[in-house]
Structures are given as C-alpha cells and as structure tokens.
Amino acid sequence: MMMRLVFAAALSLVAATSRADVNIQQLTTPGGISVWLVEEHSIPFIALDLSIDGGASLDRPGKRGAANLMTATLEEGSGDMTAQEFQAAREALAASYEFNVYDDSFSVSAKFLSENLDAAVDLLRQALITPRFDQDAVDRVRQQVLANLAGDEKDPNSMAGKSFYAAAFGDHPYGSSLNGTVESVTALTRDDMIQSHRDLLVRDRVYVSVVGDISAAEVGPMVDHLLGDLPQGGPDLPQHVEFGLPGGVTVIPYDTPQSVVLFGHSGIKRDDPDFFAAYILNTILGGNNFESRLMTEVREKRGLTYGAYSYLVPKDHAEMYLGSFASANDKMAEAVQVVKDVWADVAANGVTQEELDAAKTYITGEYPLRFDSNEGIAGIMVGMQMIGLTPDYVVHRNDFINAVTLEDIKRVAAYLIKPDQLHFTVVGQPTGLESSQ
C-alpha cells in the first residue's frame, strides 16, 4: 500500500523532467551535405554515424548477397593498403569503424580520439572511397559468409525468418535474406563488388551525425573530405510491397527441444498520423518491458516462455507488425493460443486507462534517458534524419505521446490488431500444432 502512494506521487514529477536536453546543431557543409552535430567536449573523442538509403535491396538480379559481401570487404584493404595493413593502421589509431548493411540502408558507425581526428577520418575515407576488393580478400570474406549461411540453415530463428519473409514478400527483396544463398554468394565476382559499391555508396542519399569533441567549424570540412568524392545517384529504390502472408500456422519440423516462433501480420507506416497511438498500443501489448500483456500472460502467469515480445516494423517499402518467443515443444501450442487470445482481446476491447497512463509515463520518462552517450546520440540523430524528422522533434516528441487518448488507441487497435490475419511460423517439434492449409 505504501508503494502505491509513492507511485501516485511520483507520476506528477515525470512530466516536469521528461524533456530531452540535447543541443542539436543542423549544419550544411561547404560541399552541400547536411549534418547534425552535438558538441560534447567533456570526453576527448568523436562518434560519427552515417546512413545511406538503399542498402541490400539494391542487389542486382541474380546477385543476392552482393551488398553484404561488399560491405564486409570494405575493411579488407583500400588505397595502397592490404587488409592487414589497413587494420594495423586502424589499430595504431585506436579508431573503430563498423560497416553494416540492412534491407533499406548502408551504415557506418565510427569513433576515434579527437587527437587522431585527421588520420582517423583519412583512413575511413580511404575505405569508403577507394576500397580495393582484392580477389584474395573477397574470397576470404566469402568463406566467412558461407560459414554464416551454413549456420543459418541450422538455426531455428533464421529458419523461421526465411520461411516467413519468403511467404510474405515473394520476389521482392524483402522476401529473401540479404546474406544471399550458397549459390548466389559462390558466384559473386570482384566486378559485382565494384558494382554494389557504386550502387550503394552515393552522396545524395546520405545522412550524417557527429557527436563529441569537435567544433561546428571543423565538422563541415571533415565531412566534405570524408564523403565529398562519393558519386551522385544510385539505382531506383524498390517498389512498395504488401504483406502477403495470410493468417494461419506453418510448422517447420526440426529436432530441437524448444520451438521458436515468428508471428505477425501487416503493420503501419512510420509517418502515419496514428503511429504514436500504434507505438503506445504496442508498448502495452508486447513492448520490451515486464509489464506488457504478452509478458504477463505468456511468462508471468503461465511460465510458458522466457520472453515474448511484439514490435512494429515500418520498413521503407512495407509495414509489418511482428512478434516472437520460444517455448518447449510440449508448450508451444498453448503459448500460441494465449497470444491469439491476447490479440483478440485487444482488438475487441482496446486497453484500459490505467494501462495507457502507465505506458505514457514509461515512454515519456524513458525518452530523455536515451541521450546518455555520444555513441547513442549519434545513432539516434541518423535514425531521425532517415525518417524525415527535424531536430525539434526531441523537444515535442513527448507531447505527441501525451496527446494520444484512450479513444485513439481503441480506434487504432480496431484496424491494426488483426487476430484472424496472424500467421505463426514455428520451427521445432511442437506437440499438437500443425500447419494450416
């Protein structure tokens, strides 16, 4: 009882502090590249993040896996340096560069000491602008990719994803793994690497953020030097695609003690006016916390899983509402039924005012805490640019959350939550669960 009172009193405090305190400077470099900057001089290093629209969905026909192999080979030699020479130089600077490719984007996360700024940016520029793609490097990385592909063949979660996305998206790039297949990766050539590099790394699709021990005057020339020599213009981006997997169950037999499941149906666009209501709704339904409906019903009350989650996935060219969990083979059927019941209940009845209030104080209170590190802020700022937000979003974001009403949630739940359209793809040997027709 005592705690309930403390809880109620604390609520009023949340509103007073829940505003992100971060000073974002929006710059345009002399070369015309837009950059978001947060100066933070208390630690002598700089975090730089960039993302380029396009990503692995730009793989050319028959070349699935090219973007992935190209990205993994960027750190394997450039300019006049072999792979080992490049890495020795990077290690001597204690800089780190992470290159990643996703369905819709290529990204770099870098960090380096401010005293090594020039040398660290030179070296990163070399990897981005003049990669060598030496045949021995391509072949070495190819072997690593093939080993990963072999792993995916025996990993229940990868198996579930492969089946689910193929059925949902067919021939669209979203319908296959960006890692490619054994056949496609084996056939990739050095020329394919050069083509993929030309297709993905383009200047007019880039978003940049910089956080740390650097001034606004230094950032412009630094970013121009880093990216100014990238070419303009890439291939057309893929078309929008509808989520094409109807409701039902797919069981993929696999001899392992615990079944895993990926489930979902179509979702909602990130720029939809109802997105904030959908976001709150998902936090209540299956967000990353112990209080969600899924965690309460599947884990806390019944002990059927270690964790059950759902997530909105607004990609650039499709929208999904997905969820996942794992349960012992003899419990998966019951857990699937519990999830269906939760889905049906929320679709029909929405959520309670108490749930909405608790979710709002969680979401608005948690938001400013995200801005707690240079690396974290750099990542957030690139993400904001990619979805078309402006810097003042960080000031107003909690107002958008607080404006959502119980009626909004009920209205959105009625069309977003579709119990009959949920498809469950299960890998394992689940007792009493069979593929639907």
Binding site: V6, F45, A47, Q84, E91, A92, A147, F290, Y362
Partner: protein
C-alpha cells in the same frame, strides 16, 4: 608517422577516472561507490551481492539465479511484479544478472527517482515474501530460459561440458543457470535459504552512477540502506580449489545441429587479485597478441592470411574472477581442413610465438588501444559501474580498479613471455572439438 601517433599518445597521462568516483562505507559495512556523469539527467542504481552460483550448495545448482528471478515477486508490502511496474511507470527500466561470483540488480531511471529506487531495493533486501504459486511458475520460466540459452544451442551445450572438464573440484564447473535436473527440484525453501544467508547490507555493494552528487547519495544510502542491520553470521566464501592438473583433457561434442566444426582450448589461468594484477595484465596482452585482431594477431595472420587454414580464430581472457579463471583459444577450420590439421597449425603458431620476439609494433598498437579504451569507457556509464561492481564482489578494492589501467600500460614483453610459459601448458588444458557427426571428428 603512425608510430609517432602511438608514441605521442603514450606520453599523455591516463584519463583520471578517479576524479569522478567517490567511495564510502556505511556503518553496517555496506560499501558505496558513486560515479558522477552529468551529461544526461539519468541515474543507474545497482546493488551487487557477493553471492553467485559458485557459492551454491551441492545439489542446488541454479538457486542463485532462481532467486534473482524471484526477487521481482512479492514482498511484505509490494505485490508480485509491482517492483518493475513502478520502475516502468516512472520512465525507467530494470533488470538483474547472476554470474559465478555475484548477483546484481539495477535500474536505469531519471535521476530524481533515486530515492524511490533505494526504498524499493532496500525493501526487497529484507522483506521478500514468496508464494508457492510464484515459485512454481517462475521455475518453468528459468527452465525455458535454459532451453533458450543452452538446450537449443549446441555451442552452449558443448561449452558446458568443456567447462565441467576444466574444473574438477571448483564450482566454476557447474553452469550458472544450473543443471536441468537440479533446477527442476529447486524449492521455495531452497530459494529462501539462499536469500537469508546472502542478502544483507554487509554482503552487498551499492553503486550509483550518473547525474548525482556524492553527498546526496550518501544521505539517501544512510536513510534507506543504513538502517538495515548487518548480518552477524555472514558465511565465509570458502571455495574448493583445483587439484594440480597432470594430464591434458580432451573431448568431442557431437550434435547434428552444428553447422561449422570448430575447436576450443582452455587453460586454467590466474585472475586479477588484490594488489597483484600484473600476471592478469600480461594475460590481457597475450590474448590480444595470439588472437585479438583477426588481421594482425598471431593466429589470425598464420591461419587466416599466410595460410587458408581457418575461417575464424580467436583468443580470450577475462581476469575478472574471484578464483582461477581460464585462457581460451578457438579455431574454426576452412572447408576441407580437418580439426586435427587445424589444431596442429594452432599449436605450431603458438610454439613459433614462444620461440620468437614479440613484434614491438604490435605491442604498441595493443597498448594504445587499451589506453584509448579508457577514454571510450567514459562514454558508457553502465560499463563503468560494472567495473566497480565486478571488482568489489570479486575481492578487489577500489584502488585495484584505479591502478588497473596503469598496470596494463606497464606490461613488458618479458612478462608476457613468462606468463605464457606458465599458462600455456598442455597438461593444464582442455581441448574440445565440436562437430555435427563422428565423421567430422578427424
């Protein structure tokens, strides 16, 4: 020019972490560490107990971790699940973790919520009140956790077997999550016995990191934790030590779910000890030299570049341990290369390393990266808190934590060679092969 950059770095003093860290001890002997970082209005509040799975009673493996789960259930004044609910409703997130040597609870929340967090954490240090139903349901949850982490993961099952072989006598050979057959038998009484024995202020470390003032934290700590009486009969942490190992141990784990054959080698190795961290520091370098970077390390160069023997090589050492830890090597052979050929190549590379001088340029690159990691570490509040929590629950002192970066900077090639000669002894090793079928075990 690159060498100059590295040398210039060395000339600079290490960043003084100590200036942001304040420590004191409450009257009931609860230790407190405050780490200031005022960049965001955030606090990380952690309580670490000096009790982990290696302190468990024989036959009750997993009870430390089981209790960790049950600590989120009811107390005399809070309902089951209410703890996390209150944290979330205040915009925070919370969790906990258990290892061989400690169990820790934390919340990440707006700095002005610190008093509430302390009030609730102090409450569950004393007033846990478990129902049989919560215990029975949560046992199913930890069994599903074991399914997810271990039973569904051939690599984890293999590690469990190899580790059991490495530690014949010490409880580090028993998995933290527990053996499945013992987890199934864990009772409410087992959990509460563990709780009563270990959960007291003089067996705990409080760590508060973030946008706080040390004197404010001290006043709150005294108010919420200082009033809890110290446990008079705190158990002494007496753990069995390993007998001398006099023969290499080898095993092959076969599981059709394995996609890529690989081998691991572990050696029993010294850990960081109070006032004696030099061997551990040398082992950090040894791991980096042998298998840190796939591009510049000994195994990477010889097995992945000079020859195409392996698709993956690595070496690892973690000196954060109360008792003897391990030094680890791993190699995944390329297609067409047998495990025995890969193991022979690994041993030859190490023999060659022992017979040659250590490359001074590689030595400097590692030194530079360790120094830079101290700067990058300041960007990670929870990581800093973790350093102190681990150290203080594993018998180190605050001074040991603060001395460690400089000790790392002063490691010499001679010290590395000496510790390598001592640790890399095949008679003290476990070699494990992980394969999909007996046919691959050649």
């Amino acid at each position: 020019m690159k060498r100059l950059a590295a040398l210039a770095l060395l000339a600079l003093p290490l960043p003084a972490l100590a200036e942001d860290v304040t420590t004191y001890t409450l009257d009931n002997r609860m230790e407190v560490v405050v780490i200031e970082d005022h960049r965001a209005p955030l606090v990380v509040h952690m309580v670490w107990y000096k009790a982990g799975s290696a302190d468990e009673k024989v036959g009750q493996s997993g009870v430390a971790h089981f209790l960790e789960h049950l600590m989120f259930k009811s107390t005399d004044t809070m309902a089951s699940g209410e703890f996390s609910k209150v944290v979330a409703a205040n915009g925070g997130s919370d969790n906990a973790f258990t290892t061989y040597d400690y169990t820790a609870y934390f919340q990440r929340i707006a700095a002005d919520r610190l008093p509430l967090m302390m009030q609730m954490e102090a409450d569950r240090m004393r007033h846990l009140n478990l129902t049989q139903e919560d215990v029975d349901t949560e046992r199913q949850v930890i069994l599903e956790e074991r399914n997810q982490r271990t039973e569904n993961n051939p690599g984890a099952l293999a590690r469990e077997q190899f580790r059991a072989a490495q530690y014949l006598n010490h409880r580090y050979g028993v998995p933290i999550i527990g053996w499945k057959h013992e987890m199934e038998q864990l009772s409410r009484e087992d959990a509460l016995d563990w709780y009563k024995l270990h959960y007291s202020p003089n067996d705990a470390i409080l760590i508060v990191a973030g946008d706080v003032q040390p004197d404010q934290v001290k006043a709150l700590a005294e108010q919420y934790y200082g009033v809890i009486p110290a446990e008079a009969d705190l158990p002494v942490r007496e753990r069995p030590s390993e007998p001398p190992q006099t023969a290499p141990r080898r095993m092959t784990y076969v599981d059709p779910r394995v996609s890529q054959p690989y081998l691991t080698r572990s050696y029993l190795a010294p850990e960081r000890d109070p006032g004696a961290q030099k061997e551990a520091a040398a082992l950090v370098y040894l791991a980096e030299l042998l298998g840190g970077s796939p591009f510049t390390s000994v195994l990477g160069t010889k097995l992945q570049f000079d020859t195409q023997t392996a698709v993956y090589t690595g070496a690892g050492y973690d000196g954060n341990s109360l008792d003897a830890t391990t030094f680890n090597l791993s190699v995944a052979p390329s297609t067409g290369v047998t495990l025995s050929a890969a193991e022979t190549a690994m041993d030859a590379a190490i023999a060659d390393f022992m017979a040659s001088d250590i490359d001074p340029a590689q030595m400097e690159r590692i030194r530079t990266q360790l120094r830079a990691s101290e700067i990058y570490a300041k960007d990670d509040l929870q990581g800093l808190a973790q350093r102190y929590g681990e150290a203080l629950t594993q018998s180190l002192t605050v001074k040991d934590v603060e001395d460690w970066p400089q000790i790392l900077q002063e490691v010499t090639p001679e010290e590395i060679k000496a510790v390598a000669a001592k640790v890399l002894d095949i008679n003290g090793s476990v070699t494990g092969w992980v394969v999909a079928s007996q046919e691959d075990a050649k």
